[in-house]
């Protein structure tokens, strides 16, 4: 299935939750979806006979300066088609439902997005930092992150 076909089918099924299709960029075509419907849409993408997106290739956080985003790269091993989903969240309170119960691999990916961008994944079974130490302060990959002067007695700047 091509990206526009996937978009049309999703649009027919979920209506306003599917916000736009962007296919004129140099990157792969992506679909912007409403964050509050993420779980339903993802379950549909995985279980629908026409989609069969059984593989979450990547889940990453994004900082768009005025907002925070979550990007889902999906692939279907059987039907060999792929699609990218983006959910744009409020910068002050970046909250979205977890897709951990849809694709287990999202567990650690979401922990990383939480660690680096501070995105809260609701109902995630174990939302703790995965790369940084547990007592780390701040979210390092945010654009406005300031490198700390000191961590646990170690001087951080050169």
């Amino acid at each position: 299935m091509q990206a526009n076909e996937i978009y049309e089918k999703l649009k027919a099924e979920y209506g306003d939750a599917i916000m736009e299709l962007v296919s004129d960029e140099a990157t792969e075509a992506w679909i912007r979806i409403s964050p509050d419907k993420i779980l339903e849409v993802c379950l549909g993408l995985r279980d629908d006979k026409g989609f069969k997106f059984d593989y979450l290739a990547n889940l990453s956080g994004m900082d768009y300066k005025d907002s925070i985003g979550v990007v889902y790269h999906l692939y279907s091993v059987e039907l060999k088609h792929r699609i990218t989903l983006k959910a744009i969240l409020d910068r002050e309170n970046p909250t979205i439902h977890t897709v951990e119960r849809v694709w287990k691999t999202a567990n650690w990916h979401e922990r990383e997005a939480f660690d680096m961008f501070g995105i809260i994944f609701e109902n995630h079974p174990n939302l703790i930092r995965i790369l940084s130490p547990y007592d780390w302060e701040g979210y390092p990959l945010r654009k406005d992150y300031v490198t700390p002067q000191e961590y646990n007695g170690f001087k951080v700047p050169y």
């Binding site: 130490p133 490198t147 961590y151 170690f154 001087k155 951080v156 700047p157 050169y158």
Partner: protein, 192 residues
């Protein structure tokens, strides 16, 4: 090393080999250093090549240990993150004296490519443990590491075992008289 010259012609002096006990002990120590493995990043890949048959690190008498209690020195090869720095310090403290440190690669020496924007990187392992030999390179070639290893052996051979404090004080007085500034334990490898 005067001892080895004597060993070359042991019978010239009537079958008696005269040597300094300290030389013998230091010679033995320098030729059987067991090291604590501490591979942290891509330098560890180079280190694996070093250990394999082509470069054969074991011919230096170095045997890898996984416990700090059995190790004579530690090779910090790779990027030291702040999270790992605490662990390195603890492992170093668990090692038995005398103990040495080789810092392998730019990251362990000074932070390497992460020196400016690495919010999570310790800018040099010498901020937590005292380093004896710095081996530059990103990562260093096995040959460069060998030079570092030989520098460490040189250092061990020169070390005082008996009446240590007196000898160190003597050396310091001598250096001070000559106007030399000596940083204790600092041997740098020149890598071309």
């Amino acid at each position: 090393m005067g001892l080895l010259n004597k060993l070359d012609n042991p019978y010239n002096a009537g079958g008696i080999v005269l040597g300094v006990a300290e030389d013998v002990l230091n010679w033995g120590r320098s030729k059987s250093d067991w090291y604590l493995q501490f591979g942290l990043a891509c330098c560890a890949i180079e280190f694996m090549a070093l250990n394999a048959s082509h470069y054969d690190f074991m011919r230096f008498g170095c045997i890898p240990r996984t416990s700090p209690r059995q190790a004579d020195f530690i090779i910090v090869s790779g990027t030291v993150t702040l999270k790992m720095a605490e662990r390195i310090k603890r492992l170093y403290e668990q090692m038995a004296e005398p103990k040495y440190v080789i810092s392998m690669g730019s990251c362990a020496n000074c932070g390497g490519p992460y020196w400016e924007h690495g919010y999570h990187v310790l800018k040099g392992v010498d901020r937590v443990i005292p380093v004896d030999v710095y081996v530059p390179g990103c990562p260093p070639r096995p040959e460069a590491f060998f030079e570092g290893m030989m520098k460490l052996q040189e250092k061990i051979k020169m070390q005082a075992i008996f009446r240590k404090r007196e000898k160190i004080a003597e050396e310091d007085a001598k250096n001070a008289a000559e106007g030399k500034i000596v940083v204790p334990g600092l041997v740098e490898v020149d890598n071309h």
